[in-house]
């Protein structure tokens, strides 16, 4: 059970009642909140470090109406169906999304959205090994996700879980370094992430979704 409420500072503060403390959730604001049980009369305040027009734009995409003042329109919160909320305060962009609950398919789509966001953020970082690593890994994972969508077998689910875990960590790093410590981002040791990316490649190749990066023909790594 997850409840959501607006914190004093306007931050989207997920309170995970079962297995963790509010402090933990607040300290890790980039974990995806898997589902929210909406109660009639209960409000969800969504906060994003972005401008109101952009939040409005995000809401429009998912048909949430345009009266965004932090409160979700009534017709949504009266709906008792669980809703997936992915929230990310990574940067000034559309980063609030809502989908109807359908874990397997939606998780891949959400993950892809978040990876696109990672690519957009890291594109602005100064060139370095780490920047190129995150961009390359995100691009690879996006291609895998586009081929993974229809697969429902257990190994595919495991691969999706691995990519999501990888995405969580990458998002967290992007957030920390985007606003405050960008200059030191290039000096970070991201070997753990690189190892995870190697495992994603190995699993993707095993499932014949995408070969290892070193085996992909160059002509497939060029954009028009």
């Amino acid at each position: 059970m997850i409840l959501a409420q607006k914190s004093v500072f306007g931050r989207f503060d997920a309170r995970v009642l079962n297995n963790t403390t509010p402090l933990y959730a607040a300290a890790k604001p980039f974990e995806v909140v898997e589902s929210v049980d909406w109660q009639p009369g209960q409000s969800l305040f969504v906060y994003a470090l972005t401008t109101l027009p952009k939040v409005r734009q995000a809401m429009q995409i998912f048909d949430w109406g345009v009266s965004v003042t932090g409160r979700v329109p009534e017709r949504i919160w009266k709906n008792t169906e669980p809703i997936i909320i992915a929230y990310s305060t990574v940067c000034a962009a559309v980063n609030v999304q809502a989908r109807s609950f359908n874990p397997q398919v939606r998780a891949a789509e959400l993950c892809a959205d978040r990876l696109r966001e990672v690519m957009r953020i890291t594109e602005r970082f100064a060139p370095s090994y780490n920047q190129i690593l995150l961009q390359g890994a995100a691009s690879y994972c996006l291609r895998v996700l586009s081929r993974l969508d229809e697969k429902k077998d257990e190994p595919s689910k495991q691969l999706l879980a691995r990519i999501r875990k990888f995405t969580n960590q990458v998002e967290s790093i992007c957030d920390q370094y985007e606003k405050r410590y960008e200059a030191s981002f290039s000096l970070l040791n991201l070997q753990v992430l690189e190892d995870q990316f190697d495992m994603i490649q190995a699993e993707s190749a095993k499932l014949r979704l995408l070969p290892l990066l070193r085996d992909i023909p160059t002509k497939e790594l060029v954009r028009p």
């Binding site: 690519m119 780490n130 290039s186």
Partner: protein, 209 residues
């Protein structure tokens, strides 16, 4: 080269290390293997070969090597992409996918780590004394204030970085010359030497093989 041969070893800055290592094999659009090299790689390899043949060692400091591994490998690739070298060599018409950039950069980094295995290459754990670092920074502030000397600082360049200054001080400490492509370092060779902040600083491009 003659003036370098009087020393037991020569210090490379991060750029020289990247030049030396930037020689990797990638496949072009037709699937044919192509050797990608930076414009300075041939020269760097000639200088290194000449030094090694004369039984000279090559060294650097850990921070400079890390700068090469973590920052310059990426910068070097992006600069070759912007110059169009990578597109020409791989016969690419469109944009490189970030995956391809990463594949090349990873190979480059692997190549860079090979240099560590060489008997003639040493990475020193030298750590510059903060007081001395500050003294060099103060000297560069003086250079900036002097109308005559400030002309020697290339446009758009700030003060030398901590890594650059550490390399200078490592040169002074080890009594070995520093090879670099940074004008703001080798343009002040005599002033830095006079203050005991380096043994000597030579421009990489001026070394005759």
């Amino acid at each position: 080269m003659k003036h370098l041969l009087g020393y037991a070893a020569v210090i490379y800055d991060a750029n020289c290390i990247v030049y030396q290592s930037f020689s990797i094999v990638e496949h072009d659009m037709l699937g044919l293997p192509v050797r990608l090299e930076s414009p300075n790689t041939t020269r760097a390899k000639q200088v290194t070969r000449a030094l090694v043949n004369n039984k000279k060692g090559i060294s650097t400091i850990r921070r400079a090597f890390e700068e090469a591994e973590k920052i310059l490998v990426g910068k070097a690739l992006i600069s070759l992409i912007e110059e169009g070298t990578i597109h020409r060599q791989l016969r690419i018409k469109g944009k490189l996918d970030p995956m391809l950039k990463f594949r090349i950069t990873k190979n480059l980094r692997t190549e860079l780590s090979q240099i560590k295995q060489q008997k003639w290459f040493v990475i020193s754990a030298f750590f510059a004394d903060p007081t001395r670092l500050e003294q060099v920074r103060a000297l560069y502030r003086e250079f900036c204030l002097s109308p005559e000397l400030s002309k020697r600082i290339p446009g758009g360049k700030g003060d030398p970085s901590d890594v650059d200054i550490s390399l200078l001080l490592f040169s002074a400490d080890s009594k070995h010359p520093l090879l670099t492509n940074d004008e703001e370092l080798y343009n002040f060779d005599s002033e830095l030497r006079a203050k005991g902040f380096c043994e000597c600083v030579r421009a990489f491009r001026s070394v005759k093989v």
